[in-house]
Structures are given as structure tokens and as C-alpha cells.
Amino acid sequence: MEGPNHARRFVTLWLIASAIATPLVVLLLGPALPPGKATEQASGQVTDNTVLIGMSTPILLLVVLYLLYAVIYFRQPRGAVLEGPSVHGDARVQTTWLIVTVALVLALAAYGTERLYAGNGAGSGSGPAPLTKPSGAKLPVQVIAQQWYFTYRYPTYGGVETPHLVLPVDQTVELHVTSIDVIHSFWAYQLGVKADANPQVDNIAYVKPTKVGSFEVRCAELCGIWHGEMFDRGKVVTREGFETWIHQQQASFAPATKVLPPYSKTYLPEPPRRGG
């Protein structure tokens, strides 16, 4: 084949572009990636997202630069009807591609698994009996979803049920997410927590807030017409602030707490049938 050494030229181009773009993406875009650094789990997810976006950049560049390169160099000359070279394959290229992609995929899966277990579920709903649990004292909080709002019960504080979520800072929280009608998904964005709320299932997620501030709570699983209205703001406060708040809640909701069903991992859902 005559002409310039396209292989060397393109690979050089790609390597240089990747060497420039990847650090830029990681350094500039990385800190802006969700969901922020308000909890240990959220910070972990930012790290994971940064790793993934850093890894994706050279792959994106490979294909996009190749498409541009091909459009410029591998085209039919104007007015000509030439045939291309009759090449049916290349065992070396195929083998190299296979080895590189297998290595990438295995590394990715190993990294994801390690991060999932080391992060004790990384903020995701991990079912009724998670394989790994954080050490130390945990504050249990139950999240009860129904159409179309969340309420929260604090079993260690007399099972009081509150309409808003307030958590103490620097304290591992054990969220027990359940539903009493259809499937919802408890998504506390800044906390880096997402766990489906299933009727009759106790779905556990761990989170440890590291910063005082507020966070948004939404529903992330379609649950009927007011799905988008399932929105609330929660707060992460200091230890003392939390104690004050929870005692206030206990006092003001005392009459309600008396008639509530006793605290339980799940509650028998209402029959979903229309009209009875």
C-alpha cells in the first residue's frame, strides 16, 4: 500500500490527544461530578464517577478521532469510482483488541466490586441482610414510602414518626427503606443514597454524613401521577442539634406515636385493589 503510514500517524494523534484531554477532564470535570462530598458514600461515588469518566475519555477520543480521520483520509476521490483494498481481517489486530478490552473490562468489574464492598454498599439499597456492614454504633432510621410522600421513624427514640428527615453529622446511619403501597425509591441526592422502597421488604442502606447542611429527597421510581411531587428537604445537623430536634419531635408527636402500629421492619401494605 502506498501513501503515508496512517497507523502510526493516527495512533500518535490519539495518544497525544488522550494525554492532553484525560487529565483535563479528570481535574476540571471531576470535582463537578455528582453527588458532591456531603457524606462518605457521596464522596466515594464522586471518586468512582471520576475514574469512569477518566477511563471513558480515551475511548471516546479513539472512536471520534478515528471517524474524523476516516472522513478526511479514507474517502473516494472526487468523481472517481475506485475500489478499496481487499483486506479481510488481521489476526494481530483482533488479538490485541481482544486482550486490551478484556483487561479493561475485568479491571473495571474488579474496581466496581471492590468499591461496592469497601463502601458497604456505597449508599445503595443492599437488601434486608447486607453482606458488609460498617463497624461502630449505627443510628437506625426507617424510611416509609407511600403515595406520595416519605415519613421517617426513629426506633431508638420511641419509634417516633416524623415528616422530615434530620440526621446527625459524623454518625453512621442505617436506613431501613420500606413501602406500604407500591414501589418507590428513596433518593437522597446529596447523601448519595438510593434505595427502592418495596412493600414488605426491609431494604438497608448505610450513609455517614460528614458535613452539616441540607439535602434533597426525591422518589426515583415511578409510583403514580404525583411521582414528581415526592420531594422534601432534609437536614444534616450537629449531634446536639439532632438531640434537641428529636426530643422536640417526640414531644409534639407523642399523641400520634401512641396510636401508630409498633415499630416493625415492614408493615402489611394496604390492599392495592381499587375501591376495596
Binding site: 500500500m1 461530578l33 455528582p34 461515588q45 468512582d48 469512569l52 471513558s56 471516546l60 471520534v64 478515528y66 471517524l67 476516516a70 479514507f74 474517502r75 473516494q76 476521490p77 478499496g84 483486506v87 479481510h88 481481517g89 489486530v93 483482533q94 483488541w97 478484556v102 473490562v105 473495571l108 468489574a109 466496581g112 466490586t113 461496592l116 449508599g123 439499597g125 443492599s126 437488601g127 453482606l131 403501597d181 407500591v182 414501589i183 425509591s185 433518593w187 448519595g192 438510593k194 434505595a195 418495596n198 412493600p199 421488604v201 431494604n203 438497608i204 415511578l222 409510583c223 401521577i225 411521582h227 414528581g228 402489611l268 390492599p271 392495592p272 385493589r273 381499587r274 375501591g275 376495596g276
Partner: protein
């Protein structure tokens, strides 16, 4: 009697007067019997079954009646079209025949026709119709999302629109490439005169049309609130419009399974001499892979929906947690179908791209075996990844590393396809015609779709992105970017063959560029909306996301406009101007371009013998399948 004699063409019958042609088994009879069947089912449901269900008296809702009405309606519709005739005549001892194939004129496009080319055209128009209804839903959705609070259609209608858009696209477009293009070209490409089961081929189309109208009828019964996934127990709680969803998807499932079966049998048994597995055009391989997925996955969907229908009507509780069932069961069953389903949408697109690429780069397909391995690898692996849709659901949480691994492994066979794509372009002589541009756009779109999929396959990352607009942008890149773009590539590539007419080049290029730019301008910002915390399927969202949403809505309207340009091109080029296309405008070596246009009813006078690779570009070799058969072959 030999097979050839049984299927020989008989003399063309004398034309009958127009009023006489209205009587008999045709679309008019089908509609009348369909409506009659519908009211019969409705009446039975109310008179016999409805009275024993207390809740139905209280709410004036009768799911039994509606499901029976749909069932009898579809049965009447199919009988009216004449699908019962052949089994009955065989029961009465009449000889086998393919009489339906011999209809002439425009009328055969409106009824049961066993000519695979007619079915292909029927599919193209029928699916196109529902594609535009689904697209219209999307336009209404985006209009609602111009404002952070529900102002335009309200949350009730909005959620129904979301459900209808998703279900319409996932259901009807499942056959988006297999329906029109595989039905039309697979028999030709393998050197056959027809499909293995020509009546079943027609049945799949009419089932799909009946299903489409059933889904559209949901607006008369209050719509359905569950989106295309139909999750329980919301499904059980929903009003009667949910029955339309159940009936629609079950019919689509039956149609898919039959279509897949037909394709598998045709490709396996009806290849002409010399058409070995290793000479099969790559598009046919992609159809084969898709067909396997359809046959294995679709019955699961039908069974699941049958169980859901029982839950809704006769108070079983397969999926009702309070009654001893589990909503996890529904999620497992649904996604066991649902994940292969998304590859059912993507694989034919791979086939189209790899089929067209050698034609436009004037090179053989690079790494044919690797491409086949990629297609079959995706087919196999797609059954082992479904729980990645349930990473945060709490179900089998300890299996997540397995599903993370299997999901990431599926990028290996997809990577093969990309390698084949890129290497086929290497040192090629590419001409950037409209079909080629759509193929290039596929590469870009599917790349974005694949890379965003990596974020979703990684459980810690998925915790943020799951159920958000990020997911929505991801699957629009893979499905719209992977299927609809290749669907248009196939239309622009094959319409000169199917109609003998040429598209207006300027309108076609305008369509492509507008569609490509608007598509990216619509869905790229949605990744950011998802990252910023906007959940899917909401009619109300955080006020600070309004700018992104308005931007996306405007881009979506432009995307809709690009579809209108396509429609204008169809009307202009195929109905009004009608410029005849060259016999082989792309200088393709594939066999369908060597046949006369329009393709004769029985495709080949003599069954061809394939003695060359279908992708011998770059060499002045004889064209595949043009050598006449030796005596006795076929």
C-alpha cells in the same frame, strides 16, 4: 405432487366488479368483525363475569369485560382478514396452496398477503404510522417539561403520555428493522422464493397492527400510570387503561415470537445452494441473532402479562405483596424479557451498519467472523444481565458483582462490532451518501450510549444515576441512536429497490443533519439533568433545571421537525415527483440489487447458486449469486 407444483402461480383470475370485491375476507370485513367481537366480549364480561366482582360494581370498572372485548375483537379481526381460512380448508381435506400470494394490484397491501415483499412494505407503513404517534407523544411530553410545574396537560395525562410513548416505541419498533427489511430482504439474500411460514409472516404484521390500535385505545379508559415497565403493584392499582397495556404487550410478544421463529426457520432451512453459514450476509446473521432473542425472550413477557392480567381480574396474587406474592417476581420476569428486548432493538441496527459499510467504503467486511461472534456473543450474554436494572432494589444484593461483571463483559462483543466498523473503514474509498452518513452517526451515538452504560453498570455510580434522566438519555442514545438511525439508513439505502424511485437528495441530507444535530442537542444535556438529580418520568422538577429542560424541549421540537422533513421527502419523492432510480445506485454487489425492480413475485426464476463471498469489494470478481443454477439444483 411436488412442492414446486403446489406453489406454482396459477392464471390471473378475471377482475371482479368493485362491489363484489368488498365482500369476502378483507380489511373491511376484518374491521366489522373486530368491532363486533369487541362488543361481544364487552357484553359477556358484563353479563356473565362482571356481576361476581364487588369492586367492579363499586368503581364501574370491569377489567374482565375489557380484556374479553380485546380478545374477541382481535379474533374477529384476524378471522375477517382470512387467517382462519387455510387451517379450516386443510381440515376439510383441501390441498395446500399459497393462493393469497397471487393477489394483484394495490388491494393486496390491505389484507392477508403471503408475499414477503408485500409484508415488508406493510410493516414499513404500519410501523411508521405508530412511530409518528409515539413521536407525537414525545412532543407533548417535552411541551409539559417546558415549565417546572405541571401546567400544560397535568400530571395524570402526562404520566399516560410517558407510558404510551415508551410502550409504543418499545413495542412497535421492536420489529422496526426485522418487520420491513428482514421480511423483504432476508429471503432474497439467502436465495429463497418465500419465507418458511408465509401466513405466519402476515399474521405477525396484523397482530402488531391490532396491538397498536389497542394501545392507542388506552386513552378512552384513563391511560396507564406505570410507564413501559408496568411495575407491580402500581399495575394492579391502575384503572382500566392498564388492560390496554397488558393486551398490547402480550400481542406484541406473540407477534415477536412468531416473527423470530419464522426468521430462524427460514434462515436455517431455505438457503440456496452455496449460501453457507460463512457466506451469509452479515445482516442476515444479525436477523438470526435477533430472532433467537425474540423466540427466547418474548414468551416470558406474554406469560408475565398473563399473570398480571389474572391479578387484575380474578384476584390471584402473583405480584401482590399483601396476598403472598412479590413485586420482585414481576421485576425479575419483566427484565428477563426486558433486557434481551433492548438488544432485539440494537442488533438489527448492527446488521444494517455492517451490511451497508462495505458497499460505501468499497472494501470487504473486515473480520466477518469477528462480527458474527460479536452478534452471537451479545445474544448469549443479554440473558445474563437483567438484574442490573435492579441494583438498588434490594433484590439479591449480593449478586450485584456478578451482574456488574456480566454487564461489563457484554461490552466485549459490542467492542468487536466497533472494531469491525472501524477496520472496514480503514483505507477505504468512502462516499458519504445519506445511508453512509446515518451509519457514521450510529457509530457516534452508540459510542455515547455505550460509555454512559458503563456508569450505569457500575453499582456505586449507578446509585446516583439509577432512575434519573441519565438512564433516559442513555437508552435513547442506544435505541434511538442505534435503531432509529439505522432504520433510516436502511430506508434510504433500500427504498430505490423497494419502490424503484429515488429520494430527493437535498431533503434527505437536510433530514440527516437536522436529525443528527437535534438528537445530540436533545439527549446530551439530559445526561447533565440526570447528574443534577432530575428523576425520570416526572412532570415537575427542580426550578434550577428549567434552563436545561427548555433547551432540551426546543431541541426535541427540532428533532420532530426533522421527521416532518423526512415525511415531506416521502410525499414529494415517492408520491409526486417519482424520479426513477438507477437499477443499482450504490454499485452494491449484494444479490437483491442484481434482481429486476420491482422484484418478481417469486423473486428468482431459477434458484441462484452462490459461489462468491457477498463482500468481494476491492476485487473485480463476479457478483455473488448471479451464476445460473446447474440443471437439477434448487
Amino acid at each position: 405432487m411436488t412442492a414446486a407444483a403446489a406453489y406454482a402461480i396459477s392464471e390471473r383470475p378475471a377482475p371482479r366488479p368493485w362491489w363484489r370485491r368488498l365482500i369476502g375476507f378483507n380489511l373491511l370485513t376484518a374491521v366489522i368483525l373486530g368491532v363486533g367481537g369487541y362488543y361481544l366480549g364487552w357484553w359477556i364480561g358484563h353479563e356473565i363475569v362482571g356481576k361476581s366482582f364487588a369492586f367492579q360494581e363499586k368503581t364501574n370498572e370491569n377489567d374482565v369485560a375489557l380484556l374479553l372485548a380485546y380478545f374477541f375483537g382481535v379474533a374477529g379481526f384476524l378471522i375477517g382478514l382470512g387467517f382462519a381460512n387455510y387451517p379450516v380448508s386443510r381440515l376439510l381435506g383441501r390441498p395446500p396452496s399459497l393462493r393469497e400470494k397471487e393477489e394483484h394490484g394495490i388491494a393486496r397491501y390491505f389484507g392477508l398477503c403471503t408475499d414477503h415483499k408485500v409484508v415488508g412494505m406493510q410493516y414499513m407503513v404500519g410501523i411508521g404510522l405508530f412511530f409518528f404517534i409515539g413521536g407525537l407523544n414525545a412532543m407533548l411530553i417535552r411541551t409539559e417539561l417546558l415549565h417546572p410545574t405541571p401546567t400544560f396537560v397535568g400530571p395524570d395525562t402526562y404520566i399516560s403520555l410517558v407510558g404510551m410513548h415508551g410502550t409504543m416505541m418499545m413495542g412497535m419498533m421492536t420489529s422496526g428493522i426485522l418487520g420491513p427489511f428482514a421480511n423483504y430482504f432476508v429471503p432474497i439474500m439467502i436465495g429463497a422464493r418465500r419465507m418458511a411460514f408465509p401466513r405466519i409472516e402476515s399474521l405477525t404484521f396484523w397482530l402488531l397492527m391490532a396491538a397498536g390500535f389497542i394501545l392507542t385505545s388506552t386513552i378512552f379508559f384513563g391511560g396507564f400510570p406505570t410507564g413501559w415497565t408496568g411495575y407491580e403493584p402500581l399495575n394492579d392499582q391502575a384503572v382500566m387503561g392498564m388492560d390496554s397495556y397488558i393486551c398490547f404487550f402480550a400481542l406484541v410478544g406473540v407477534s415477536m415470537a412468531l416473527l423470530g421463529l419464522n426468521m430462524m426457520v427460514t434462515i436455517t432451512t431455505m438457503r440456496a445452494p452455496g449460501m453457507t453459514w460463512s457466506r451469509l450476509p452479515i445482516f442476515v446473521w444479525a436477523v438470526m441473532a435477533t430472532a433467537v432473542l425474540m423466540v427466547l425472550a418474548a414468551p416470558m413477557l406474554v406469560a408475565t402479562l398473563l399473570m398480571a392480567a389474572f391479578d387484575r381480574t380474578i384476584s390471584t396474587s402473583f405480584f401482590i405483596p399483601g396476598g403472598g406474592g412479590s413485586n420482585y417476581l414481576f421485576e425479575n420476569l419483566f427484565w428477563f424479557f426486558g433486557h434481551p428486548e433492548v438488544y432485539i432493538l440494537a442488533l438489527p441496527g448492527f446488521g444494517i451498519v455492517l451490511e451497508l459499510l462495505p458497499v460505501f467504503t468499497r472494501k470487504p467486511l473486515w473480520g466477518y467472523r469477528l462480527a458474527v461472534a460479536g452478534l452471537l456473543g451479545v445474544t448469549l450474554l443479554s440473558f445474563f444481565v437483567w438484574q442490573h436494572h435492579l441494583f438498588v432494589s434490594g433484590i439479591n444484593a449480593d449478586l450485584r458483582p456478578f451482574y456488574m461483571l456480566s454487564t461489563e463483559i457484554i461490552s466485549l462483543p459490542t467492542g468487536f462490532i466497533f472494531l469491525v466498523f472501524m477496520a472496514t473503514m480503514w483505507r477505504g474509498r468512502a462516499t458519504f451518501t445519506v445511508p453512509m452518513l446515518f451509519c457514521m452517526a450510529w457509530a457516534f451515538n452508540f459510542l455515547i450510549g455505550g460509555l454512559s452504560g458503563v456508569f450505569l453498570s457500575d453499582t456505586p455510580s449507578d446509585t446516583t444515576t439509577h432512575g434519573s434522566f441519565f438512564v433516559m438519555a442513555h437508552f435513547h442514545y442506544t435505541i434511538m441512536g442505534g435503531l432509529i438511525f439505522t432504520f433510516f439508513a436502511a430506508i434510504y439505502y433500500w427504498i430505490p429497490k423497494m419502490t424503484g424511485l429515488r429520494f430527493n437528495e437535498l431533503l434527505a441530507k437536510t433530514h440527516f443533519w437536522l436529525m443528527f444535530v437535534a438528537f445530540n442537542s436533545t439527549f446530551l444535556p439530559l445526561f447533565i439533568a440526570g447528574f443534577e438529580g432530575q428523576p425520570r418520568r416526572v412532570s415537575e422538577y427542580a426550578p434550577h433545571l428549567q434552563f436545561i429542560n427548555v433547551w432540551v424541549s426546543i431541541s426535541a421540537f427540532v428533532l420532530g421537525l426533522s421527521m416532518l422533513i423526512f415525511l415531506a421527502n416521502v410525499v414529494y419523492s415517492l408520491i409526486f415527483v417519482r424520479v426513477r432510480a438507477e437499477a443499482n445506485p450504490w454499485r452494491s454487489k449484494s444479490i437483491e440489487w442484481q434482481l429486476p425492480t420491482p422484484v418478481p413475485v417469486h423473486n428468482f426464476d431459477e434458484i441462484p447458486v452462490f459461489d462468491a463471498d457477498p463482500y468481494d469489494y476491492g476485487l473485480p470478481l463476479p457478483v455473488a449469486g448471479t451464476r445460473p443454477a446447474p440443471a437439477g439444483a434448487g
